[in-house]
């Protein structure tokens, strides 16, 4: 029997992955749910691949076992593919289409993004891919990209928290002077999935 609703958030250091996880985790706690979350700090943060694991329910370990993630929030397409073992069949995948090529690869070594999405679709019928970077720019700041992904994730079926609760958590956990931009990006992400 699965112990928790598992969310795997992945991308590149500096994309606001921990903050997105914190917003979900804080909201879950306020709703009286048990939640554990893992964070990566230190050396791996310097432009390396990073992930945050969120487990809402009875699980105590923060590392999501293979084939367990109910939802993946991928801030970068290559990092989504790298974590394919984490997701269960037909999990919901919210994937940013804007790639960040690793600094040390040769031109052309980065796999084509449409091929990445095709690979992901082999394990899940529920892949929602969109350009979250563009959405963030339109909202007013490139760093609100994480909120665009969060918005889309909140709109996925089975997501255990309501939009209102997440927005309340954003108010609590984001600097107030950027809240408007962040909310716009969040709504954009949410609508792109609902619409």
């Amino acid at each position: 029997m699965k112990l928790s609703y598992d969310i795997y958030i992945c991308g590149v250091g500096g994309q606001g992955i921990i903050k997105a996880g914190e917003i979900i985790g804080w909201a879950a706690m306020k709703e009286g749910m048990n939640v554990v979350m893992s964070e990566i700090h230190g050396m791996a943060q310097r432009g390396g691949g990073v992930s945050t694991n969120l487990r809402i329910g009875k699980a105590k370990g923060t590392i999501i076992p293979n084939g367990h993630a109910d939802l993946m929030m991928a801030f970068e397409p290559l990092e989504a593919l790298r974590a394919i073992d984490k997701i269960k069949k037909d999990a919901h995948l919210v994937v940013n289409l804007t790639p960040i090529p690793p600094f040390n690869i040769n031109p052309g070594e980065y796999p084509p993004v449409d091929e990445i999405i095709m690979e992901l679709k082999k394990v899940s019928r529920n892949v929602y891919a969109f350009d979250a970077d563009r959405m963030a720019l339109e909202a007013g700041h490139p760093l609100s990209m994480n909120m665009a992904i969060l918005g889309a994730a909140t709109a996925t079926p089975n997501f255990p928290l309501s939009q209102d609760v997440i927005i309340e958590s954003m108010k609590e956990n984001l600097p107030s002077r950027f809240f408007k931009v962040n909310l716009k990006a969040f709504k954009g992400g949410f609508m792109s999935l609902e619409g």
Binding site: M1, K2, L3, V12, G13, G21, E22, G25, W26, M29, N34, V35, V36, M37, S38, E39, I40, H41, G42, M43, A44, Q45, R46, G47, G48, G49, K58, A59, K60, G61, T62, I63, P65, N66, G67, H68, L78, E79, L81, R82, I84, D85, I100, P101, P102, F103, N104, I105, P107, E109, Y110, P111, E115, E119, V123, D133, P142
Partner: protein, 615 residues
């Protein structure tokens, strides 16, 4: 400025539920326990404890410092505890090695007020040079050991550790691991105990001055204390049994418990679990009672088979008939952190379990190692020194050190050939300079220089060694999140402090020293060439602020693709994450910080400063 989150940690009142990182819970434990003196040297995965205390210590009247190194930190804390003031010191696992010379003696002298040392171990080495298991230190120094498995337990166990320490007048070690220190979850906080800020040191040289005659007496007393404590561990509420009907059991501790718990509950396995939180002295009575009706026991611990060996000795002493499956018989891996998949695969060798298979990917995915940030001065320093060496047609050994600049190990920089520990760049260079005819360049950061670079520098001068030391001074302890060090005009609590000049220290030793701005490539190359061709010990200080800590930002540069002949010097030699190749060189406007190093190195002058969008 104190962040909102810090305020939450500080202002939460008894019974409040806060979403805390393990390290934040440790900081809260210090406040609740009435700690008067706290000290550390930053190191992942312990750094956030100091980050929190540096912001809020003054608000609660606690004294907090970033000490020069972990040995100093432990000594600061020990003297406070000897004077009747509760003290807390915390560091990463390898930091305890630095502290160990004093740490192993504090068991002998003992303490008057509670003293807790938190060691944050790093199984799987997310940010470390090794994955040593610091539970050995409790046995080595003969001091009690607690192993929390989540943020709530970090709070509860650390508070208990202060009481235990005070009761038995012994320092107590708390061991966390990366996954526990960096776990965030709900923590119910307690009330804040009144603090004793100042104590009175009562002289007692027969106890506090360890010379052979006194040490012999104090060692005897230490053994007496630890024997007394071993009588209370069997009844400790921090050791718990989760009963199941069956002949199989698990003994586990710390973060490893979480994976055992999840596997047993998810698969509904009839396996009892003995969860150990108070693990030295080991609760041998409780363990032998747990083993009594079992046929098989799995020992699940990260990293070394410590509990396993103790369990085997209990089984031998008590003549029990239980099969033990752990690391020693090959059931569990000897290295790296565990997770539910690893625990499942290991137990699955003896009990049939349905486990997830890995999905085979057809395409090979390019790795994504960490690297220097756009605008980082280290990238510029490494570019220049490699250019200088190329022009001189010179090969060198790069003896490097610990910090962001260790990332020079990656292509295309290749500026890391030898590294052991904090400060080893200079000490090892002394050895290379005598044992080889090769030319040597040492790299050491500013904070690392203060931490452990000065004694080997004295050695290099006095013993007439011949090499080049490059001190990469970015004005902060960057890798761990930008903590201050003695070279800065403020201290760990944000108060004004005398800044210690690195060049004054170097000059005082009579060494030839040059200070460069590494972002000026031409001058840097010239200075490096001079230093590399001047015999004797030379020091070059490459000084420019960390771009992550100080957030200075220029306008992104612009590429003129008509001038660019795609020589790829910028891609192949500089490898800045803001420069990519996609049908021509492109500058990613999201990342470029306008440092203009690429502008200076482009042979075709195709990169221009202060441009608009390149799209």
């Amino acid at each position: 400025m104190v962040g909102d989150h810090m305020i939450k940690i500080l202002n939460a009142t008894e019974g409040d539920e806060v979403f805390l990182l393990g390290n934040e819970a440790a900081a809260r434990a210090a406040i609740e326990s009435g700690v008067g003196v706290a000290s550390t040297y930053p190191g992942t995965p312990s750094s956030e404890i100091g980050d929190v205390l540096s912001k809020i210590a003054s608000k609660v009247g606690m004294y907090f410092e970033f000490s020069t190194n972990e040995k100093v930190a432990v000594e600061v804390a020990a003297a406070a505890a000897a004077s009747g003031v509760r003290s807390f010191t915390f560091m990463k696992h390898v930091g305890v090695n630095v502290a160990s010379d004093s740490l192993v003696s504090i068991g002998y002298t003992g303490v008057e007020a509670g003293m807790v040392i938190l060691s944050a171990d790093d199984p799987s080495m997310f940010s470390s040079q090794n994955e040593q298991d610091n539970r050995h230190y409790a046995r080595f120094a003969n001091i009690p050991l607690l192993e929390p498995s989540n943020p709530q337990e970090i709070l509860d166990f650390t508070k208990y550790a202060f009481n235990l320490s005070e009761k038995f007048k012994l320092p107590v070690l708390v061991r966390t691991t990366t996954r526990v220190s960096h776990m965030r979850s709900k923590v119910k906080v307690g009330g804040i105990q009144k603090m004793r800020k100042k104590g009175q040191f009562k002289k007692d040289p027969s106890r506090f001055v360890l010379v052979p005659s006194t040490a012999r007496t104090m060692h005897k007393k230490l053994i007496k204390k630890i024997n007394k404590i071993s009588k209370i561990v069997d009844k400790s509420p921090y050791n718990q049994i989760y009963h199941a009907n069956g002949k199989y059991g698990i003994i586990t501790s710390g973060g490893a418990f979480n994976y055992a718990h999840d596997l047993v509950n998810e698969k509904e396995l009839p396996i009892s679990i003995l969860k150990l939180g108070f693990t030295y002295p080991l609760p041998s009575g409780l363990i032998s009672q747990f083993l009594e009706d079992l046929e098989k026991v799995f020992i699940i611990e990260e990293v070394d088979p410590i509990i396993e060996k103790d369990v085997l000795s209990i089984i031998g002493q008590e003549n029990l008939e239980v099969d033990v499956h752990g690391k020693l018989d090959g059931t569990f891996p000897r290295i790296y952190e565990y997770n539910q998949d690893i625990v499942g695969a290991s137990i699955g060798k003896l009990i049939p379990l349905k486990l997830e298979k890995k999905k085979a990917l057809k395409t090979h995915l390019p790795e994504r190692p960490p690297t220097f940030c756009p605008g980082c001065p280290h990238r510029a320093t490494y570019y220049s020194i490699n250019k200088a060496l190329e022009e001189l047609e010179m090969q060198v050994i790069f003896s490097t050190d610990i910090g962001c600049y260790t990332l020079g190990i990656e292509k295309p920089y290749n500026t890391a050939d030898y590294l052991l520990s904090m400060g080893s760049s200079i000490g090892a260079a002394c050895g290379f300079s005598k044992a080889t005819r090769q030319k040597i360049v040492s790299f050491i950061g500013d904070s690392t220089f203060f931490h452990a670079g000065i004694p080997p520098l004295l050695n290099a001068v006095h013993n007439k060694h011949d090499f080049l030391i490059v001190i990469l001074d970015n004005g902060t302890t960057a890798m761990t999140g930008g903590q201050p060090h003695p070279g800065l005009p403020f201290d760990g609590m944000g108060d004004e402090a005398p800044a210690i000049s690195i060049e004054s220290i170097v000059e005082a030793l009579g060494i030839n020293v040059k200070v460069i701005n590494p972002m000026n490539i031409k001058k840097s190359i010239r200075t490096f060439k001079e230093a590399l061709t001047t015999p004797s010990l030379n020091v070059v200080i490459a000084r420019y602020p960390c771009q992550l800590s100080f957030k200075a930002r220029g306008k992104p540069v612009r590429i003129n693709n008509n001038l660019c002949n795609e020589c790829l010097e910028c891609i192949n030699k500089l490898a800045c994450p803001a420069i990519t190749y996609d049908n021509g060189i492109k500058v990613d406007q999201r990342y470029c910080r306008g440092c203009t190093v690429c502008v200076q190195i482009c042979p075709e002058k195709a990169i221009k400063p202060k441009g608009g969008s390149s799209e």
